[in-house]
Symmetry: C2
Subunit: 109 residues, 2 copies
C-alpha cells in the first residue's frame, strides 16, 4: 500500500466520526473497499468529479484535524512506548526502566 494511503486510512480511523455521512461513505468506499472514483459515482448517482472533489476536500479536513488534535501522532508514540514495555518484560530488565516508560506514557495523554 502506498504511504499516503496508509496515512489517510489511519486518519480516517481516528476522525471519521467528525465527517458527514456522505464523506464517510465516499471515503470508506474509496480507501477501505477499494472502489474506483467511477464506481462510487455510479453507485451514488453523482458525477465522477463530484466524488473526486469530496474525497480531496475530506483528505484536507482529516489533515486539518490531525494538525489540531494529533491523535494519530500520539497513537504512534504510545505504540512505541508499549513496544518498549513488552521488551522490558521479555528481558526482565529492572523496574527503574519500567517506571520511566510508564512516566512517558502518562505524558502522552
Amino acid at each position: 500500500m502506498l504511504e499516503k494511503t496508509i496515512r489517510v486510512n489511519a486518519l480516517y480511523d481516528f476522525y471519521h466520526p467528525l465527517l458527514t455521512p456522505k464523506q464517510q461513505s465516499y471515503m470508506s468506499l474509496y480507501y477501505i473497499n477499494d472502489f474506483s472514483l467511477r464506481e462510487i459515482a455510479d453507485e451514488c448517482n453523482v458525477s465522477r468529479q463530484a466524488v473526486y472533489d469530496t474525497i480531496k476536500r475530506t483528505e484536507i479536513m482529516l489533515e486539518d484535524y490531525e494538525e489540531k488534535l494529533h491523535l494519530y501522532e500520539k497513537f504512534k508514540k504510545r505504540g512505541d512506548v508499549i513496544r518498549q514495555l513488552y521488551d522490558v518484560l521479555d528481558n526482565k530488565k529492572n523496574t527503574e526502566v519500567m517506571l520511566n516508560l510508564i512516566k512517558q506514557l502518562e505524558k502522552l495523554d
Copy 2:
C-alpha cells in the same frame, strides 16, 4: 469546583483546537479565568446574552465532540491502567499482571 465545571474544563482541554477563536476566548475567560458573563461582555464589547449563547452552544459542541471521539473517556481509562501499573511496580507483583495491563493499554489506543 462543581462537577459540571470540572467536566467542561476537561473537555475544553481536549477539544479547544476545534473551536473558533471567539469560542476559545469566551470559554477560557469564563471557565479558566473565572470571569462573569457581564465581565466578558464588557471586555469584548458584546451583550451579556451573546456571551451566554456562545458559551452554552460551545458546551454542547464539546459534548458532541466527546460523544464522537471519546478522548476524555479514554484519557480516564488510560489513567486507571497507568495507576495500576504503578501499583504493580510498587508491590513487585508478577509480570503476568503487568503484561495484562499493557494489553489493556494497547486496546485503549
